[in-house]
């Protein structure tokens, strides 16, 4: 069995188990810490897919940014020492049935479709290609993304401020 296969199954196991912990844990802060393992293992999956830049971006942005923001949100909105931190699930049975149905349909479609598979060029760094693509083909989305980030920055600053009467 090749090493990539073992690595894939180990990473997939970590991802699924910690995502289940995110979803089913009663304690919000435990969910946030389980999300940490999920995001890290997903960046390992990107390394297996030879997407080195995406893997680093995943660690820097998701683990270093979004997860910290979420933990800040948990700590600002719930009293840590209180029981209030615990949260209940709502309509568990119908939503389990709905989600399982959608996952079953998706996996059935995935394994019954004949995908058009072409092997990519092996062992090539992607950063050069991504940089060229971002500044040539995807220049307009790139600029629009910067505007979106500016709008989000101004918007979240405006939301978070106390409005004085």
């Amino acid at each position: 069995m090749p090493i990539t296969t073992i690595l894939f199954y180990v990473l997939a196991f970590i991802i699924v188990v910690s995502a289940v912990m995110v979803v089913f844990n009663k304690n919000v802060i435990h969910s946030a810490f389980a999300l940490f393992f999920t995001l890290f293992a997903i960046s390992g999956i990107y390394v297996l897919l030879k997407a080195d830049f995406i893997a680093i971006t995943q660690i820097m942005v998701y683990v270093g940014g979004i997860l910290i923001l979420l933990i800040f949100g948990v700590m600002l909105t719930t009293k840590i020492t209180n029981v209030e931190l615990k949260t209940k699930n709502l309509n568990v049975i119908p939503s389990v049935i709905f989600s399982l149905g959608i996952v079953t349909i998706l996996i059935f479609i995935i394994f019954s479709t004949k995908w058009n598979i072409k092997q990519a060029v092996e062992n090539e760094e992607t950063i050069t290609h991504i940089g060229k693509a971002l500044l040539s083909t995807y220049l307009l989305p790139f600029e629009i993304a910067s505007v979106v980030l500016l709008v989000a920055l101004i918007g979240s600053a405006m939301f978070a401020r106390k409005i004085k009467d």
């Binding site: 699924v16 995502a19 942005v61 948990v74 909105t77 693509a133």
Partner: protein, 102 residues
């Protein structure tokens, strides 16, 4: 057994299902946000897997960078909204904050 495109897509589908379950059933607004992050990550796994196995070059990876950018913007804005919700209702339970509905 060699790992193919199907395995990555199945992993993405399972992650999507878990995120969907979190979005539907959790009552804490921050956990709903975590479900959204799981769904966006599932989409990213699919994009990168297609870009690796379908001869798309780096196009899929570029799109997944845009997905990450939008996820960051969404997380910042949504947490601002959740903090405002907490200031107004003193809870982040999305079932309690239903003044607009009544």
């Amino acid at each position: 057994m060699e790992i193919g495109l199907n395995h990555y897509l199945a992993l993405g589908a399972i992650l999507f299902g878990l995120g969907l379950f979190a979005m539907i059933s959790r009552r804490n607004a921050i956990l709903v946000l975590m479900g959204i992050e799981l769904i966006l990550n599932a989409a990213n796994i699919n994009l990168v897997a297609f870009s690796r196995y379908n001869g798309l070059g780096v196009d899929g990876q570029v799109v997944s960078i845009f997905v990450i950018i939008l996820a960051v913007a969404e997380a910042a804005i949504a947490l601002g909204i959740v903090l405002n919700l907490y200031n107004n209702f003193a809870t982040v339970d999305i079932d309690e904050a239903n003044t607009m509905k009544d």
